[in-house]
């Protein structure tokens, strides 16, 4: 250890270069994990709070229903089944159906979600997204529509829109409802198509006084996709209680595009990690190899004085390990500190309206936040240390194979 420290001090320039080679990949990875965690969390929260919940209970879809979901007329018994399960944070009944929203000659295909306002309000972020008027109130007949739909139909708060719903099980239903609120959607398509009305209003549209299409459920202590095991534990219990005609669909089934985007992020991060670690390893290998070459005579002398080859290997690896640990710790600390600074300033706003709009389309805010996971910080740093030590193996092996006499005659 002493010899390793002494040598690191002896060639400070090379030591700093090696330190940077280890530090920079770790810092980059920690920083990028921070971004990707935030992106994944954004998508998960947007999907599960606004639309899917952590899971839904529905009747199994049948052929010929188009985009309509089978009607559920026994939601009370489903709620009773749910009450037997531990770990449920929240649940509500909802009636979703495709419809046409129309005002004069303007019309747009929409998706009406009939909700119980007092139940959905604490969970759904649509209430917080309302920018004009108010969210639905208990017993109120009205609709909350997105800004995009309001523009398309040229309506404002207080105007009436006509909804025409066609459910295969109940036929056509039409009614007029006043717009009570307009929300700013995190996803443009949602703002154009998703309308919130009360469950009572949606049931009038579906012409069925007890209809629902799903029971929406959230599970305790779920903070992101990493807690998917908790959701699976609850749904596994539930499947045993429900009749065969009912199915449990989790957020991945209900929002496959969101889980698809999340699925893309993981391999992207792996590719980045491989590139960063690969470059870091090359620099470590190069500098240590040069260092071994420079110390050929010294190493030859050490071997000739009786040091075993394994001791030489250990010396070089200790040197590499020491520098890797210091570099990784500094890299991780810088990454965490930068993430903290970014968050302290409220995130990084995305430049340009196009990029911001694209982020909206995929369900993300147009501001990049950082969300550090300590396990990822530790894994990134530990992985870099491992890679650096591995890269040092070749120079160490070469050093151990030096012939003492030839090594001592070696001239640079």
């Amino acid at each position: 250890m002493k010899a390793a420290i002494r040598h690191l001090k002896r060639n400070r320039g090379r030591t700093i270069l090696t330190l940077l080679a280890v530090m920079i990949p770790v810092y980059f990875l920690v920083f990028m994990f921070g971004f990707s965690n935030s992106i994944v969390s954004d998508m998960f929260e947007t999907a599960t709070r606004i639309d899917t919940g952590h899971f839904q209970i529905r009747y199994i879809e049948r052929h010929g229903m188009g985009s309509a979901i089978p009607l559920m007329h026994d939601s009370e018994s489903v709620l009773a089944d749910l009450d037997q399960i531990d770990g449920i944070e929240w649940r509500t009944v909802r009636l979703d159906m495709p419809a046409l929203a129309s005002v004069a000659d303007r019309s747009q295909a929409v998706y009406v979600q009939g909700v119980i306002p007092e139940e959905i309000a604490p969970i759904s972020s649509i209430r917080d997204l309302v920018v004009k008027g108010t969210y639905l109130k208990k017993g109120q007949s009205g609709a909350v529509i997105g800004e995009e739909l309001a523009d398309l139909l040229n309506v404002g708060v207080g105007d009436q829109i006509t909804l025409l719903g066609a459910h295969p099980e109940t036929g056509l239903g039409a009614l007029k409802v006043p717009v009570v609120g307009i929300y700013r959607a995190p996803i443009s398509a949602m703002g154009r198509t998703v309308i919130h009305t009360t469950l009572t209003t949606a049931r009038q549209l579906a012409r069925s006084p007890d209809a629902a299409t799903a029971v929406i459920v959230r599970v305790n202590d779920v903070h992101g996709p990493r807690d998917v095991g908790k959701i699976e534990a609850v749904t596994a219990q539930l499947r045993g209680l429900l009749p065969d005609e009912l199915e449990v669909l989790d957020w991945r089934d209900l929002a496959p595009q969101v889980s698809g985007y999340m699925g893309i992020l993981q391999p992207v991060m792996i590719v980045f990690a491989v590139i960063f670690f690969g470059l870091g390893a090359l620099v470590v290998l190069n500098t240590l190899y040069l260092s071994v070459m420079e110390r050929t005579r010294e190493l030859g002398l050490i071997i000739s004085l009786g040091a075993s080859r394994w001791r030489v290997i250990r010396m070089i690896l200790t040197e590499a390990g020491l520098i890797a640990v210091i570099g990784a710790v500094y890299g991780a600390l810088i990454g965490v500190a930068l993430a903290w600074i970014v968050e302290a300033f409220g995130g990084i706003p995305l430049p340009g309206a196009d990029l911001a709009n694209y982020m909206k389309v995929v369900g993300m805010k147009p501001v990049l936040h950082m969300m550090i996971s300590w396990s990822q910080v530790v894994i990134s740093a530990a992985a870099m240390v491992g890679v650096a030590v591995l890269a040092a193996w070749f120079p160490a092996y070469r050093a151990s194979k030096l012939e003492p006499v030839e090594a001592m005659r070696y001239v640079e």
């Binding site: 052929h63 010929g64 229903m65 129309s102 036929g171």
Partner: protein
């Protein structure tokens, strides 16, 4: 020389044979379709249509009064069930409206022409008695009782089917229609039966449409009238309002 004459004779026989077969195959599909359409649609039509729409074991029944003028104008009034009484559809060219006594008329996007009218069952295109549009290339062959036609959609045609096969009787009444998807699998089959004669035209009054999943729509046409005097102004939003007085 004799050998050459023999070869020429043989060649001539083969050519005449091929030409005869080709003539058989190249029955004028378009002319047959026009005759079918003419019988099926007439210049105008009025009738009462009963619909039994079965979906996943549940059946809903409707009774409709239907008027058509040419292929581009249609008016449908719902007579039953009671809850839908006097609601209806109006088609004027590509423009389409739905009417409900409770909310008045609603303009629909033209794509709704192909959507199921009541969430399931036939579309307005089906009921307005449009049959075989300009979207297909048709070929015809002789069949046992009449003609067998194959219709392939043009590459840019806005249709969901990959192919249609139609059996037509010698007097140009459709007997059977099979709809295939793009992969060649059967999507649905329509059987035409209970043929009656109205004003010297033979006409199927029961159509059973069954899809690959067993869901079924039975369409029964009562009191069909063809080529009656219908004023174009009848096909207007005002007609909707007049229904409530009856």
């Amino acid at each position: 020389m004799n050998r050459i004459i023999a070869w020429i004779t043989l060649l001539a026989i083969v050519l005449i044979g091929i030409s005869a077969i080709a003539q058989e195959d190249s029955l004028d599909a378009e002319a047959i379709l026009n005759r079918v359409n003419s019988i099926w649609q007439g210049d105008s039509f009025h009738g009462i249509i009963g619909l039994d729409i079965s979906l996943s074991g549940q059946t809903k029944s409707y009774k409709l009064e239907v008027w058509t003028l040419g292929e581009r104008q249609a008016l449908i009034r719902v007579l039953e069930p009671e809850i839908d009484l006097n609601s209806g559809y109006l088609q004027m060219g590509d423009d389409l409206w739905y009417y409900s006594p409770a909310v008045g008329s609603i303009k629909l996007p033209s794509v709704a022409l192909g959507d199921a009218l009541f969430g399931a069952g036939p579309s307005l295109d089906d009921l307005s008695r449009g049959t075989l549009s300009d979207d297909y290339d048709a070929t015809a062959e002789s069949a046992e009782t009449g003609y067998f036609l194959t219709l392939i959609p043009h590459s840019d045609a806005p249709v969901v089917y990959g192919r249609l096969e139609i059996w037509v009787s010698a007097d140009y009444v459709i007997e059977k229609l099979i709809y295939y998807d793009q992969r060649g699998d059967v999507l649905q089959m329509a059987d035409f039966s209970d043929i009656i004669e109205v004003d010297e035209r033979k006409f199927a009054t029961t159509i059973v449409i069954e899809d690959a999943y067993g869901d079924k729509t039975i369409e029964r046409i009562e009191e069909p009238q063809f080529d009656l005097e219908l004023d174009a102004s009848f096909f207007s939003l005002d007609t909707f309002n007049s229904w409530e007085d009856h």
